[in-house]
Symmetry: C2
Subunit: 357 residues, 2 copies
């Protein structure tokens, strides 16, 4: 395992991993790390977890050992731990210690498949907000008719004012640019109609600000729920309540239709024959819309890169989440975010920030 200190060369990226988070942890974390290091030759890992459980798993993954420094953490965050309690009592957990590695500068980012609320609360507390950001947000990406779309916030902030939504637009633009590689992302505000008179005051004010301000990306105005899967914009901006409901509704509906399709192939002799012929094409479809390819929600607006993997994912999905962290680090998403926030006329937003905090 690579020596302590974690001095990193200029292109070397070090990711701290919470080995104990996720339904099938630590197996998927260790196996996921081994997939990720094959895809990204410059990556090293700080692996936080119960040494006794994790060390044999690392030993079993050929070639991983020399890229991993295993650091013992005696405790772990459970799925049902309350964020407010675990931030006080959980300083010996693998999650806490992994985040701390980023704070100390030993790692460039942290990935965990554990308890979302705990991860967000701990990351907020340890890493703190980026200067100029009022409210960090959770952003994720998914397949649409036209490619891939980012949506935020997905649940960090239940209520949002106009200033928060403008920040989300800036952060989402950076996500689309660094992680999806889109050069001039289009941005839409989620609403119940496209007319300027629709929605609440926060939405109307945010739309006005986004029209007036000279921000990166192209603000196209309001979009509606069906515009999300249609891929009408690259970045969908919304409050954490609506974003969470919309994302879960979309995931659930995709499952529903896929279940209908599977059932349809089974429901007659001829349909079963048809499936034999169409199977290869459907396998390709499945791989194209495989949720493991879209795994990795980023907590944007923090001093450090923090990525949340789906708790139920496997090693392949966990490797994708590591890849998201690597892209965010490699293309220096946080520096871009900071400079975009700084481009704002402070007088235009600061008073609102003061009022909101």
């Amino acid at each position: 395992m690579f020596g302590g200190g974690a001095d990193r060369l200029s292109d070397q990226i070090t990711i701290a991993l919470d080995a104990m988070g996720g339904d099938d942890a630590p197996q998927i974390v260790v196996a996921g790390a081994n997939i990720a290091r094959r895809r990204n030759p410059d990556v090293k890992f700080l692996l936080y977890g119960n040494e006794e459980d994790v060390a044999p798993l690392v030993a079993r993954q050929r070639g991983l050992d020399e890229l991993v420094e295993l650091r013992h953490a005696p405790e772990k965050v459970e799925a049902d731990d309350k964020p407010s309690q675990i931030v006080r009592s959980g300083h010996e957990t693998s999650m806490w210690k992994a985040i701390e590695a980023v704070k100390k500068g030993e790692a460039d980012g942290i990935v965990s498949a554990g308890n979302t609320g705990a991860l967000l609360a701990m990351a907020m507390l340890i890493l703190r907000r980026l200067e100029g950001i009022d409210r960090p947000a959770i952003a994720s990406f998914f397949p649409t008719l036209r490619g891939e779309t980012v949506m935020l916030d997905l649940g960090a902030n239940i209520r949002c004012d106009a200033r928060n939504l403008v920040e989300f637009a800036i952060m989402g633009e950076v996500f689309a640019r660094t992680i999806l590689g889109i050069t001039n992302p289009t941005i839409g505000l989620l609403n119940v109609g496209e007319e300027e008179t629709k929605g609440n005051d926060a939405l109307k004010d945010a739309a006005n600000l986004l029209r007036e301000l000279d921000l990166p990306g192209e603000f196209v105005g309001f979009v509606e729920g069906d515009d999300i899967p249609a891929g009408a914009v690259d970045v969908v901006v919304t409050d954490g309540f609506t974003g969470n409901v919309a994302l879960k509704t979309a995931e659930g509906t995709a499952k529903l239709i896929n279940a209908f399709v599977r059932e349809t192939f089974r429901n007659s002799f001829w349909a079963k024959i048809g499936y034999v012929f169409a199977k290869r094409s459907f396998d390709k479809l499945r791989s194209r819309s495989d949720p493991r390819r879209y795994n990795g929600a980023v907590f944007l607006g923090l001093n450090g890169v923090c990525v949340k993997s789906h708790g139920g994912t496997d090693a392949v999905g966990f490797a994708t989440a590591i890849g998201v962290a690597i892209d965010m680090i490699k293309y220096d998403g946080n520096a871009l975010l900071k400079s975009n926030i700084e481009r704002l006329d402070p007088d235009m937003l600061r008073p609102r920030a003061a009022a909101a905090s």
Copy 2:
């Protein structure tokens, strides 16, 4: 055409139709009425529209003529008319006059495929709220993994307090009972988590009230976005902003996955062969999830039955919307609603109502 006065026998149901509302009106309205009267032998229609345009269409539908009384309305509501303006200037429109027929007791309900905002504003103004209801809501139903689910509000009320959400639960229960024929509907409050600590104060207060109050149906607590398509509950209660976004996201995602499936069948020679075998089963699937089978949103909480059809539907879909109005009338949904609202301890909710209005 049946004589004026519209005296109705006890089982006779009279529906007022806005002949001019909808992308393909008046054709789809007239043809839809003819499909509906075959399904419902006891129905008659008051048809409001431009006599010159509509009369020849009625004449062309064999057997419809004697069930229709055509009433001239010189104007129509356009898709882009602003609700606030059209309620003042639109008293000669087919929509206004059709709603008025319900107010006058000449019709039992009204169906329109026209401008949603205008229909809601006019219906509120002309029919007024049912006694005990603070905020009428829009409810609709759709297919899920387990059958059919009702959701409300879908856009009538952007912001809702706890009292509004409790009313929606009562109204949604009546919808599930009368239109879907579910005997003891389960009810869930849409939230970003199932834990009692999640969500805003309105949601927490509403959940407490629904647990305490002895209301019809079975309140199961909070549900999340993916529970909607999963059919986890029969009635999903939410504010009009979230409901609108969730419904449109689900519709859009269903379209997206269906597009993926169509493309998959086209993407190789063997897949095309497979489609030939599976076609009949896929036709059945298409018919099962045909949006025309789920057409008809009800404006609940008014003195009268008002149903909004999708603007882009065809005659078959419009007939479904008429069927929704007929069920609501036949099973006396509004009487049930009124008696359920009256069952509430007035002291429990009135102070909130006063504070909210």
